[in-house]
Symmetry: C5
Subunit: 354 residues, 5 copies
């Protein structure tokens, strides 16, 4: 996660509206897909030239323009010009290190969202940035990676079974946002699996590596939490706000998304508390294990103390030590020492120190 700030300083001192990509390049190619539909009609095509999308603007149908890859700054600039987007909006679209936010420009709403995914290679949670422009009869979505994350929405659009085509661009936006929130549930599952694994390890055998895993998990949870809180604010505005482009009937759906977001936040907070508890258990069980070993070793030492003392006694060179001349003295002493050690072992067992 750390590291991206470096890229940020490239922009120091540049005038506002200068398009500079910030963040890791997650995808090189650019792919533009258009879906134009109304209740009875639907057309999907992948466009090669950016100019193909401009005539659709004036059509009464609803147009969804999905742009995969935000690294071709020229194309972004031309879309911005055609749809009269504010220069700062364009700057925000290509800056992939934003917090979730919503800005209302009356003619259109600009939303930045973060979609989490688990990067198996880096073994951590990462975020893809999705920017949405919601107009009266169009939605433009910008994605960073080439993954077809909106596949399910496309399928729903193509089917006539659902009401989605009968409703406006705001409902389409809702569907996209709902899908994004759903991705948080998938990440929470991943976290939950990792927490469970950790709990088992904690009980079985805590090593210093376990501590490392706890902290990785904690970092992921903190990262996720930092992303969800601004998201919550965005959706709060969509649900409550006086946005003229969001119809009254759609607001109820956003309320539903809002509930989901709160649920995600609650779950994350619960995980945070669990991690704290795990740290407690880890430290306690590590020191417990250590103490048990030290105690074991000390007890072994204590058992040998009287034995060595006895050998010391009969190693003394006094002339008058009658025992030394007894024939059975040596085996008797050996047996005596044997019983002493047995007695001590029993005593320590009884005290539960062994």
């Amino acid at each position: 996660m750390i590291k991206f700030i470096k890229k940020r300083s490239k922009k120091v001192g540049l005038p506002p509206g200068t398009l500079v990509h910030i963040g890791e390049k997650k995808n090189e190619k650019i792919k533009i897909t258009i879906i134009e539909y109304d209740e009875k009609y639907l057309q999907e095509k992948e466009v090669k030239s950016i100019e193909e999308i401009f005539p659709l603007k004036k059509k009464p149908t609803i147009t969804w323009i999905n742009i995969d890859g935000i690294y071709n700054l020229d194309i972004i600039k031309r879309i911005g010009k055609e749809f009269s987007l504010h220069p700062l909006v364009l700057e925000d679209i290509v800056n992939a290190e934003q917090r979730a936010k919503l800005e209302d420009f009356v003619d259109y709403i600009f939303i930045v969202l973060k979609i989490p995914y688990y990067d198996d290679k880096a073994m951590k949670v990462r975020m893809e940035q999705i920017s949405l422009i919601i107009g009266e009869n169009f939605v433009i979505s910008f994605q960073e990676r080439g993954e077809d994350i909106f596949y399910l929405i496309k399928r729903r659009l193509k089917s006539t079974r659902w009401r989605i085509r009968a409703l406006g661009a705001d409902y389409l936006a809702y569907s996209l946002i709902d899908l994004i929130i759903d991705n948080y549930f998938i990440i929470l599952e991943n976290l939950e699996d990792r927490i469970e694994d950790l709990e088992e390890k904690l009980v079985e055998e805590p090593t210093s590596e376990t501590l490392h895993i706890i902290h990785l998990l904690k970092r992921d949870i903190t990262f996720l939490r930092n992303s969800v809180w601004p998201l919550r604010e965005v959706i709060k505005i969509l649900e409550k706000g006086e946005l003229s482009l969001i119809q009254e009937a759609t607001k109820i759906y956003f309320r539903d998304v809002y509930d989901h977001t709160i649920w995600v936040i609650d779950t994350i907070e619960r995980y945070r508390e669990m991690i704290t508890g795990m740290l407690d258990i880890y430290f306690s069980s590590v020191s417990d294990k250590m103490n048990k070993i030290m105690m074991f070793l000390t007890i072994i030492g204590t058992i040998f103390l009287p034995l060595t003392f006895i050998t010391g006694i009969y190693g003394m060179n006094f002339r008058y030590m009658p025992e030394l001349r007894w024939p059975w003295a040596y085996p008797s002493v050996l047996i005596f020492m044997f019983f002493i050690s047995i007695g001590m072992l029993l005593y320590f067992k009884k005290k539960r120190w062994l």
Copy 2:
């Protein structure tokens, strides 16, 4: 508690209003009970076909429809259609992993509540979800488990002693909610018993298992707390809010419920502080016990040091060591060593190290 997120991801990408049960199935069967009453009249019956309940809607009497089991999605759908419930409401009813919430649809109020119970098998606190639809002259309640938790309300309705039958559907809803809050008191008792047991164990003999129990308790308390806070908000709205379906006279009763909720929250917070204190005591007493044992063993070792040293001296092979030839040297040395060890024991006793 952990684990239910898995079920949640089943819904990823589904359109809103799709009924998918989320959460553990706590009960397979469905049972619909109707109680129809006014001040003078009361009829209770268990219906077999869902159609039987629809005619009651238009009657001036108050109707309480209690549905046990939320897993038959068809029935939920038909009720939703007949009472013109919003698709999202139906979705929420069958999703048993919700936070408590209240939504006002003017014609009806939709409330989700959580009722806690202690699962003896899993040895933890769990939540059953209760959904309420409050209309002008009807209340529909949806329960997850087959337990007849509203038994006491039914009994009160049947008796003519109480004013409940003279009052409206909002008072019936109040009675149900009041009963749900009362269940939190029962769970608090359970927690209190467990805290008391724990306190005794902490004083007597803290083991690593004690730590485990503390954390289980902490998890239950956190879980309960997370459920009560949204509940508080729901009841706050009922008490203060401008809900047209709640009569002025009933609000005072909701204020009473609100006070109880605050009391529950206070008690939970107090338990949380106690648990934190217990962790302190646990860690301190474990390390105390450990230290005492190590000190005991070290003292034993220290007592043998001079004794072994003395045997070492008389084990030396110098030709000119006059003591070696004295007749009483050996017993004198033994007695001398005896007094040395007694002296050291007394010294350590006096210092309170033993």
Copy 3:
């Protein structure tokens, strides 16, 4: 403190307004005292029959009815009926496990307050519940215990020196509440004494019992804190609120009480911080003491190491060890060992390890 929840569950499922006493019974008898006064006139009597108090209601004089003991539910019910108190108010009066609260019923104000006292036997702070009904020309106070806590107010009423008799029922209520807050100062003194004792013990000789005392103190402080915060809110309403029964001139007195409450809260918070610091000192000094002992013992052991080693050397059986035959070898070795141990002792002293 723990334990009273048990009693609370007696009420589960009972209709609102059912009078059930909750909490420990602190006093069996009931005693009703009436003080009727105006500027020129004052009459105090203990009534035997509850009916005696009803005629006073219509008189222009101010009537203060003090009821000691809230366990006779019949009497409470009859007072409630006569003064047209809401059933929930009566329920709250007999439920001695309430938070402080204020409810405005326009005709009368209902206030629940907690007065702290130190229970010498149980060695902890406890709370008595005082309920006040403030009407236009009457105040009814309900106490749990038989203690005559309002003795000072009665004395002030009887004297003509003070303005109290010239002022209304709201001023009487203020006087009672002021006295209740004053009781918090007495409890704070008690806490302060205990903290001072503890500080001395911490410096002198911390034992595991000290930890227990710290936690008892912490529990008392937390308990007191939980009681004062809702009290603060109650007095805030009295000072700021739009209560028609509180005259403008009296509000300034409530502002004074409010200042006292804030002062109490500040002091409690300061105590909380002190307790936290004490825990730090306790743990540090316990481990310090332990470490010093272990170090002492280890140093003793270290001093014997070279000595025992030397006896070992001269205990070897080599044929050619010239020293063994020297006449002064034995005493020389003894003296040598003596100087070694003295040297080591000096070294450890110099290093301040002893």
Copy 4:
């Protein structure tokens, strides 16, 4: 700091407005100084009889009455009567254990402020209470101690260089309050010196006394913090509030004082964080030091182990041990043991355990 609560309980049950001095008596004598001025004229005198100050009230000049010592309750009472101060105001003036507060009585503003000073004898930060009465053309200030803390303001008043005499009583009040806040800077310097001393001690040689100093410092900081927060609120009201006695032009000066107060709070919070960090370092370095000693001793013990073992071997009495008869065996063994110990020392050095 602790202890003053005792004095507070003297007031339990007394009617409001009863003048009882609370707090430590810091000064026995009473001294009343009057400064009467307008733009062109200034007269300062120390009055002997309280009556001398009353005629000034009606003059158009601005009068500043400074009263040193609040223990003569009669004088306070007569001033109160003459300036028609509310009885509660008089009670607050003589109660030296107040939080900072502001009360607007329309005719006058009553302000309680705390001025910190370092008590060298008790070695802790203490507070003197300053009460201000701000009227239209007069300011009355009450001080506890005999220290002439307002000396600088008097000097400024006497000089014609500054605008202070051209401005109203509210500006005079501002000057006094500004000076009081400035005293916090002096105390912060004192704290800063002590923190620096502590940091050096922590690095050099932490002892258990260091922990004590850390806690004393923490207590002072907490004490200061508790005093500044209510001060902040007071000055906030002066800056923002709708106080009719404060002119618009003076408010900008209070904004400046407000900024200083925030700066003081920020600095205190920073000190608090530093103290927490110091506790960390203290505990870590104490245990570090302890561990190093124990490790040193254990290593010494470990070096003697093989040596003693070797002496043990050649102390055995086997008949057939060829080495025992070799002429050079004894010195060889001694040299061998010497190299073993050197080898072990080098090994431990290399491992950096020594």
Copy 5:
């Protein structure tokens, strides 16, 4: 950072508006640069006499006056007089120890900002104070150090490529503030590098110096955090506030700056959490390392125990010990002891204690 309070107390008791420089002197010389421009015209010059800048005030062009060095109090005073700045504003400009703040004087806006830089010598983050006076057609900026931090803005002004010259003084102010915030990104990079270094050190070999570095880092982060929070408030006012000098179109740019500030705060908070985690890891790994060494030494000791015991047995002087006379006894015992030690080593290895 500590130490500057000393300088603050120089001002105690001085009247408001007295110019006294507070803070470290970072630069001795004073340098005044003027840039006068409109859309078509730009002139930059360094003025020698302060009088040169006054005539520009009445010109319709936009004038940017940049003053390097705030230590020449006379010049500050004359600028203040000419532009009719409030005495308190001048006092704030020369006091380099301020929090960020904004004050609206209708004719002009006064802003204090802090720009962070890393002081390589002192090895810590420091702050330079930048004061801005924004008028209708002029901006005056005051810097502490001689560094030409606004170099990039000057370059942008000179180029005709950017819109900056077409826009007003408020847009110029925005550009300056934006650049200041950008400097926080540079500092965050520095912090990130240091955190990364620290993480490596923590894994490789934590020493007591590592703890010191962690605390230095923590102090820098806390310092930065304390500076950013008031900055956030300033920019919030610029974005939201009703400042008449800020045009509607410019507010959108300030919203952008606001987003950056929030991002900075988020990052700082994340660093804070990481530092806390590092402290955990540090303490755990230090005690881990210590424990491993002590365990190693104890195990060595334990291995020698039975060996020394055996030598003790055959060092006893019993007459009848048959083994002593066996020819192969001595080598057998040596071999036996060898196998015992090998066996113990294997046992400890298997248990993973070595």
